[in-house]
Symmetry: C2
Subunit: 415 residues, 2 copies
């Protein structure tokens, strides 16, 4: 596979342009004939709603691509709120051009996106539906084509072991839906919504590699990336944190530092953020020493983040098919269940708009950065293990969890 | 440790300048009083020889530095042949300023250097003596100071495991000796001559890391390195071959491609060079498919190159003290003994003029490149193992070695 645009994605763009023209004509007819209706919902419902049209959807099949029409229904263009709602046809797994009654699913801005282009405030960004799908606008400048080509290649590559596939989002082809910025029908990647079903996950996006540019890129692109890499921790640490949010409790909600704060992290900032990511005491004072209360459950657990990263590392030591430039590790867990050991920590890889052919060479750039992340997390786990031993010895912790003050007092009285 | 110049190295330079002035005065006196003698030897002996002067050597002690005076004796300045000879005081391990009769050792241009500045043709480069020491001129522009500082730090760091120290050249301080370019007494690092005692070793120098520049370097230096990294395999493969020589037999001698050929290697060139490095059929046609006759003995052996690289990798996954920019792996073995399993393959790290403080972060740049080298070598070993199985099955190989034609014929007759 290379960065060359897939034919499927090119066809998709042409179809989107046609769909856009059709939509304009339909909307003109609708204004005359139907008027506004009450279909759709949204906490911030400002504008009139347009019903989904009972026109048969148009499906174009291109290799692995699954292409359908979808419509934004229920909002002004462009939408102006995070929780605005859109609709798309949801019967995509078994598309039938003759289907007379396609079902429509609500689309909304993802609640837990911490990095990348975001669809709020009328901008172009990804959307999610309530069936666990994530709709990512196909980027221009070949980036979208490269990402589609990667997913096609990856999911048709029989050499990828099953335990490695689980690190990648599920891929459901592409689909034309109304873009979140109101620019009309646009092709989107249809992916697995990685945090679907999680109430208040803590999420961190880590861009891996000391170099986000690839040798074949344009000089302008290389200089742009090089500048960002040098001005962040990428060059010095082999990775940079692109965003994070850490759930504290129902009252305080999430601790989520601003983008400019995250971008200015130095090595100490990164180290601290990786500790805060598994801490419970940020709501009182985010600058306080993080308690790393969930370190063992989230990072150090047998199936935890560290174990998953080590599994991924093993693959990167031998795989020579792909070089993942500017790709991110997404790590997340269920904070609310972390104390009773059901944090369900997960590692996923996302953003493949700059994946290149490995040409028989391992992805040393990604692997080096991954090993650097692993070392930071391992240090936190080791430190936590040391503390745990102390705390068990001191009677502060039992079965890996902190005792309440009452329990400690009872222990003391019983001793 | 940082790139900041060690005070010791600065003092050393000042001492060298003084020594240079003293030498000039002594030479003027010698011309009048002593004249030429017959001391010293060299296959290309062109000039008159000057005896070592019985003046007491000057020793300056700076932390771990061991500093003495030494003199080139026996050649014109500058020398014009690879095998020109120099002399230096060799009683450095127990320096005594009052020693009335310092012994002097012959210095010569190393026979098996494949990369870096070389002392032939009157240029400044390293020299070796016959006691197994390697004298490397202390480079200017802080590079020499950084290298001294690294050796001081490394050998005084009690956290470095013993099995890791063996990958680094022994360090015997610094010493002022006559520079090979005739520029007078200059400070030199005194290191272990890694290939001392080996008759016809095959040697390869591999510069590790996709990035040879460090964040704190000057813009000019960064751009220079970046250009070299992009124009070689460093960026794409995480390493580049800087030089190699492969011994064939007494008649053909070494196969040693020219520098410009080595510098122009692409991925296929590197793959081929790593195969040729363990091959015996280069003297007939260097472009023929390499036979990889020594692959199992040199790369795949229990204590072979691959095993050593894996040991080194383990350390790089955890060590956060040093970042090794522009540092090389030197791999070598005794070709003449390779067929009977006594190749004594070795991996060493050399060139620490750009080692920086790790600031608690692993050297992801070096580690990534190292893993890339490992993958290439592992592929050759795996391929060789497959061939070996075929050959054992076909009766061509026994106990890992090829049978002679006679043995095969006898097997055939006995069957």
């Amino acid at each position: 596979m290379s960065a060359v645009a897939s034919k499927g994605a090119v066809a998709l763009r042409a179809a989107a342009a046609t769909a856009c023209r059709e939509k304009q004509r339909r909307q003109e007819r609708l204004v005359e004939a139907v008027g506004s209706t009450g279909i759709g919902s949204g906490r911030r419902h400002h504008g009139r709603l347009s019903p989904p049209l009972p026109l048969p959807s148009v499906y174009l099949s291109t290799s692995l691509l699954l292409l359908s029409r979808a419509f934004i229904v229920g909002e002004d263009f462009p939408p102006h709120a995070n929780d605005c709602c859109f609709f798309t046809s949801s019967d995509l797994q078994n598309p039938s051009p003759a289907s007379p009654n396609p079902r429509y699913t609500m689309l909304k801005v993802p609640d837990h996106q911490v990095a990348g282009h975001q669809a709020d405030r009328g901008k172009l960004g990804p959307l999610v539906d309530d069936s666990g799908r994530f709709y990512k606008p196909l980027q221009s400048d070949q980036r979208g084509d490269t990402e589609v080509a990667f997913y096609e290649s990856f999911y048709s590559n029989t050499e990828i072991p099953g335990h490695i596939r689980k690190f990648f989002p599920g891929f459901h082809g592409t689909q034309i839906i109304e873009a979140s910025d109101g620019s009309g029908p646009q092709p989107h990647l249809v992916l697995e919504d990685l945090v679907a079903g999680r109430m208040n996950p803590s999420v961190m996006d880590i861009k891996i590699g000391s170099r986000t540019w690839y040798p074949e890129a344009s000089e302008q692109y290389i200089q742009k990336c090089l500048g960002k890499d040098r001005n962040s921790t990428s060059v010095s640490m082999g990775f940079r944190i692109s965003g994070l949010k850490v759930y504290q409790n129902s009252e305080a909600g999430f601790w989520q530092p601003e983008k400019k704060v995250v971008y200015s992290f130095n090595a100490d900032g990164v180290r601290s953020a990786l500790r805060k990511f598994v801490s419970s005491n940020l709501s009182l004072d985010p600058d306080a020493d993080p308690d790393c209360l969930y370190a063992s459950t989230v990072y150090g657990h047998r199936g935890g983040i560290l174990a998953q990263l080590l599994q991924l590392k093993e693959w990167f030591e031998v795989q020579t098919n792909y070089h993942f430039y500017s790709c991110s590790l997404l790590i997340f867990y269920d904070t609310e269940s972390a104390l009773d050991g059901r944090a369900h920590p997960k590692v996923k890889l996302v953003d493949f708009a700059h994946v290149m052919d490995g040409h028989g060479v391992i992805d040393h750039n990604f692997l080096g950065g991954l090993c650097s992340v692993i070392k930071f997390i391992r240090d936190i786990v080791d430190e936590d293990n040391k503390c745990a031993k102390c705390e068990v010895n001191l009677g502060l912790k039992e079965n890996g969890f902190y005792k309440s003050n009452t329990e400690i007092e009872l222990d003391y009285e019983a001793s």
